[in-house]
């Protein structure tokens, strides 16, 4: 091979010179079709509504004013706090919070149990937990509604056992919505906690046990601080989608379980819609999510320093 040029061996496989063309499609797609739309949505929340749906390009604070204040039927009374929308947000936070706690109470022991199996069995257990995550969320929610409806299989089963004499009215209650959220996002809680427990060094627990610490004290005082980042990640992965959930409250709940997702959805449907108001509600929701993410990032940074 005499005379052939020397191969470019140093840094020959480095892709750094090509990084701009390689990243261009990602920047273009997510930048143009998600980042700019989210920013545009924030702009729309300051525009004037048009009555057939859509907007007029006149800047106003009307959408936020409608969200937070009540100025009477004709808008000429002194403003008082408008509780309608704040209470929908409060209810959503409460529902998402309860669903998160329920997921944690079930998800932690499950993740722990899987992570303490022999390595060969773990992937099978994980596989079983992840299958429902891959099933269409709409289908899962519809299936849950079918199961728990007034004359559905669950009530028939319980009445057959003689546990109850009348069917439990579950559908259209807060409990059904919480159950739906719990059911929708449970795998999101199990997976990050599993990852944390799998990395946990059990010598720590053994050391505590050698010093006569009771089992549950070890869990609380030794294990929990170590696996906390996994727990926080799991809680966030359940809480954030629960907060903006649409399907569970819409299909399993009724008028009394109205959540943020339905409130936003309604503003963009047909001629009764109010686009700037819907955009403003979405901006408030996005702000809450950013606060939650910020708190988690700060907790993670603090955990990394310790």
């Amino acid at each position: 091979m005499a005379g052939a040029p020397l191969p470019p061996s140093n840094g020959g496989t480095s892709w750094s010179r090509l990084k701009t063309p390689l990243l261009l499609p990602t920047w273009a797609m997510i930048g143009v079709f998600l980042l700019i739309p989210v920013l545009l949505m924030a702009v729309y929340s300051f525009l004037t509504k048009e009555f057939r749906g859509g907007v007029i390009w006149d800047f106003t604070l009307a959408a936020y004013d409608q969200f937070f204040f009540n100025r009477g039927l004709f808008g000429d009374e002194p403003p008082v706090i408008e509780w309608t929308y704040i209470s929908i947000f409060w209810r959503s936070i409460w529902q998402a919070g309860l669903a998160t706690v329920a997921c944690l109470l079930v998800g932690f022991p499950t993740a722990w149990f899987i992570a303490t199996r022999p390595p060969s069995q773990r992937s099978v257990w994980l596989f079983l937990i992840t299958i429902p995550y891959w099933v269409n969320l709409l289908i899962r929610t519809v299936s849950l509604k079918f199961l728990i409806r007034d004359n559905g299989p669950l009530n028939e089963f319980l009445m057959g056992l003689g546990v109850i004499t009348d069917p439990l009215p579950l559908v259209n209650t807060n409990l059904a919505v919480q159950l739906g959220l719990f059911y929708s996002y449970l795998p999101f809680m199990v997976l990050p906690i599993y990852a944390a427990v799998e990395r946990y060094n059990f010598a720590l627990s053994e050391a505590a046990a050698d010093l006569y610490a009771p089992r549950w004290t070890i869990l609380r005082e030794v294990v929990l601080p170590v696996v906390k980042p996994g727990i926080v990640a799991g809680c966030l992965l359940v809480f954030v989608p629960s907060l903006g959930a649409f399907l569970a409250p819409d299909l399993l709940g009724g008028a009394k379980t109205y959540m943020i997702g339905s409130l936003i959805d309604e503003q963009f449907k047909g001629s009764q819609g109010n686009w700037p108001f819907g955009a403003a509600v979405a901006v408030v929701l996005m702000t809450l999510v950013l606060i939650a993410l910020f708190l988690q990032a700060r907790a993670a940074a603090k955990g990394a320093r310790e």
């Binding site: 949505m41 299958i131 089992r215």
Partner: protein, 267 residues
């Protein structure tokens, strides 16, 4: 020492967890074979609702919706996987560069923004630029939110492949393109397949964003099912649900085995 790993009751909770996750799916699967017009009473085993799905009065509507869903999922998964492979090469093999953490945040943005917010923002954007909502707008939205799902397994796989393989190929006078197509891509394949399957399922699964950007007259399977369910759960919906369930289980099983093979060939 087994003692510190074992907590009483954790096995019970794990089993309860699986029961909660599977009970609704199993019940719907069983009732989809119910030979009765009522969804409450059991009338014996039958395939009639599956026949109804393909030949019944709603067959045309669901057929068109299924066609839209599947073609959108195929195109979106292909496009987002290709975009994700390119991004992973730059992010994992591109060294340090300005804007790397901003790019990382951008890739993960679709995971951070709540779906309903993405839906609203995308609808507003398409309406502002005057793009008529329909097949194209659904497709653009799907490609965008599928990118991080395709990226994660591909990037994980790529960071586990040492650069020496490509360097060896280059030392033996392979061009950059040859080293990529003949050496790196085959090694990367388990990640690419996982990413593709994940993107496909995520696209097929989406309801909220599609429902916002689909426009009038355009349906995908989830929006068509949602429309029907609003009038009550009918047996043919349970048959369609069971079919989609079967597709999902098939895909997750495929992905599981691809991962197993991937782990065996870990470099």
């Amino acid at each position: 020492m087994k003692g510190v790993r074992h907590y009483p009751g954790f096995l019970g909770i794990t089993i309860a967890c699986l029961v909660v996750l599977y009970a609704p799916l199993i019940v719907v699967t069983i009732y989809s074979f119910n030979d009765s017009n009522s969804i409450t009473a059991w009338g014996g085993f039958s395939w009639r609702w599956y026949v109804d799905v393909f030949t019944g009065p709603e067959a045309e509507r669901f057929g068109a919706a299924a066609w839209n869903s599947i073609t959108i999922a195929l195109i979106a998964a292909t496009a987002s996987t290709a975009i994700a492979v390119a991004a992973a090469l730059a992010m994992i093999r591109g060294g340090r560069f300005r804007g790397k953490s901003a790019t990382y945040a951008l890739i993960n943005l679709p995971l951070l923004v709540p779906e309903i917010v993405t839906a609203v923002a995308t609808l507003i954007f398409f309406s502002a630029i005057g793009l008529t909502t329909g097949y194209l707008t659904i497709l653009i939205a799907h490609i965008t939110f599928c990118i991080p799902f395709a990226y994660l397994p591909i990037a994980a796989r790529l960071s586990g492949i040492e650069e020496t393989y490509e360097q060896a190929a280059r030392d033996l006078y392979a061009t950059r393109a040859q080293a990529f197509w003949l050496i790196l891509l085959p090694l990367l394949m388990p990640g690419v397949i996982s990413g593709y399957l994940l993107a496909f399922i995520i696209s097929l699964d989406d309801f909220i964003i599609t429902n916002f950007v689909k426009g009038a007259g355009m349906e995908t399977l989830p929006t068509a099912i949602f429309g029907s369910v609003k009038q009550g759960i009918k047996p043919n919906i349970m048959a369609i649900s069971t079919l989609m369930l079967a597709v999902s289980v098939l895909f997750v099983t495929l992905s599981y085995f691809v991962n197993r093979i991937g782990q065996k060939t870990r470099t």
